[in-house]
Symmetry: C2
Subunit: 450 residues, 2 copies
Amino acid sequence: MGEPKRQIRLGVSAIGMGYHIAAWRHPDASPGGNMELAHFIRSAQAAERGLFDMFFLADGVGIRMYDEPPGALARSSKNVQFEPLTLLSALAMVTTHIGLIATASTTWNEPYHVARKFASLDHISGGRAGWNVVTSVTAQEAQNFGHEAPPDYDHRYDRAAEFVEVVRGLWDTWEDDAFLRDKASGINFNPSKLHILNHRGRHFTVRGPLNVARTPQGAPVIVQAGASEPGRELAAATADVVYAAAQTLEDAQAYYASVKSRMAKYGRHPDALKIMPGLMAIPGRTRQEAHDRYEILQELIHPVVGLAAIAGSLGDLSAFPLDGPVPEPTNPRMLSRARILLDMARRDNLSIRQLYLAIAGGNGHRTIIGTPADIADAMEEWFTQGAADSFNILPPWLPGGLEEVVDQVVPELQRRGLYRTAYEGRTLRAILGAAPAPNRHAGAARRAAE
Amino acid sequence: MGEPKRQIRLGVSAIGMGYHIAAWRHPDASPGGNMELAHFIRSAQAAERGLFDMFFLADGVGIRMYDEPPGALARSSKNVQFEPLTLLSALAMVTTHIGLIATASTTWNEPYHVARKFASLDHISGGRAGWNVVTSVTAQEAQNFGHEAPPDYDHRYDRAAEFVEVVRGLWDTWEDDAFLRDKASGINFNPSKLHILNHRGRHFTVRGPLNVARTPQGAPVIVQAGASEPGRELAAATADVVYAAAQTLEDAQAYYASVKSRMAKYGRHPDALKIMPGLMAIPGRTRQEAHDRYEILQELIHPVVGLAAIAGSLGDLSAFPLDGPVPEPTNPRMLSRARILLDMARRDNLSIRQLYLAIAGGNGHRTIIGTPADIADAMEEWFTQGAADSFNILPPWLPGGLEEVVDQVVPELQRRGLYRTAYEGRTLRAILGAAPAPNRHAGAARRAAE
């Protein structure tokens, strides 16, 4: 008996054509897959075959559209996509266990809509919905909602915290046993188990009640990607899963400890939050095969697309020789991202071409190219060394790059006893090892009766 | 050769448990069906078996919640429901032809979100999405979005007209042939076929571009339910389908002529808009069987629920004898709805109980209880007499009340040559006999080249 053994968990970020900037040109990719339902069905079913916790769709309410250097825009596939809540509702019908995580912005939405749509997805999927909470930083998104630029950082996070509070309040509208639906007596529900929120806060005034019944999970799972101080605090207070980005074990450990240590003051056990660094894993039967697989994509990067990938940080370098050194930036007020790239170029003596090739894949996330054993080793190290509970797989292209992880890495983890061989339950909370979310009102009634 | 014969069309309003206020207590109903996916799958598949144009989900962003007389609230099933866009995305996966119409409010939404979600549903469903445009009149909805009450009528309609304009503009972001996705050259799309909206209006400033590709239908179908003057005008200008409510042939003819006659000034042919009165049809092999079927539901109306159905117009009459006359209202400023009910009671000498029984079903819509031939006769009369292109079936309960229409009335219409025997196409626009919506920019480019 005793505690169930702690095991590695996996999720997948299934955005568009995949993470690599040349993904859509992969010989085996469907180049319009980002708008093809079959592309996402195949990816979701692969992840479920791999017994992943979660299938995750990033999102933005606009297109980050720069044509720098000129010609880059026309060569990018990051332009169109499905809206995630509609897509995941469709994918709920062709999957049975995997969690379905949609991104929704707290800056450009209203909490009543968000509460409702995720509650609806939780019912449709039988308890597999999750909400990735983001605050939307781009001007392009703001300009689709009547603003020139997004609100400042503090305003965004203050609004986000209140937004999550309102949504959770609305999810508690109906107690689990509110609905009697007794045909004989004609009583449909018990009004004492209906709770009107009456929220009045700094950003929102929301009366309720929510017009969706209590969901199978009690409340959909909350996912965040908080790197900043307020982001870590919000995650510690409210998140069930947190995405992280780290290249080194030390950075990942520091982040892990920082977030988990904040949880006690919110009355939460550290296990109640899973920390999930991003990982681009490219497996091959041999290291050579893995590297060859990656090279297929690297060779498909048109120089203008490579230059565009670093232009956001370092400016347009198209006037400089591709195989020459990375020039010092002319703008003295360098962003931290530019500093990281320049340090990397200087340290490894990279040309412009070598620099963009180095970041064309994981883009700041850890990348492991090797045998299934190499990748399992890398996961196991972080998992056992206090750096990760889970890994968010970032496939270089979809669906093939995901299927390779499912078919090669998952069996290796299972052989090591580090990975499930079947799902532990039917709801995402059950799969995450958690009980259904309690209803605040049910607790109050129980406490009052004691 | 020649024109294809004009035929009757059907849609179904599949809200909650059905239209009758006692629907959830029907012996064959699943009393929690309003939150069960299986309930809606069965209904949608029945409508598709009946070769209906459309499966329509009404919606509100709140609950119309009154407990008048006390005890009525707990006995009503009009409390919880799926959010329509998520539900229809799921139903797209278990249907192949039927149009999927979701309601979305122009008062409590942003056009970018609405444009995106319907475009996404159109892709998911292979071109079967429709948007029922509503303006949300209730205070309960306003109070979920930081307002005590909805904006006044003129503001709502002015906003609605601009909202539809913005959404249609966003749907034209990408021309049909914008995406090349040519792996060999690395060109993903043609930037000259991407159009940024840059809308600046009275209510909205929306830059675009929309981050969803041009949809299979060109644009999802627009549905409205405009009864007022501005509603009729908006419908004539923009709608593909209009719901109507009329009890008599004369009223339906007047409405039909009024809306169709407005279309010419918008450069539209009258056939480009289908007028679709609501119809509660209860068929039986004999008239007696049909009436017996209806009585099953009528007998299940608890008096407090019946009183609640008229309380919104006439006030709480629970202090008066149920089988006595309907009292004169104490409030001299009677609403038009109250006047209609009172006239009806006086004309037919109805008791309070008889009055609520009379409106418990269709609630202002035409109700036909009889043999399939009776119902087909009633449809044929309106269809041939300039009162209807189509009928919006309002099933008294779901899914059975719909299945009876599909299995009994549809074959009768087919025998008369008045109804299709197979779908004419795969998109909703094709089923409605229309071409894909043209893109305004493609037209401009073509004209410029001429």
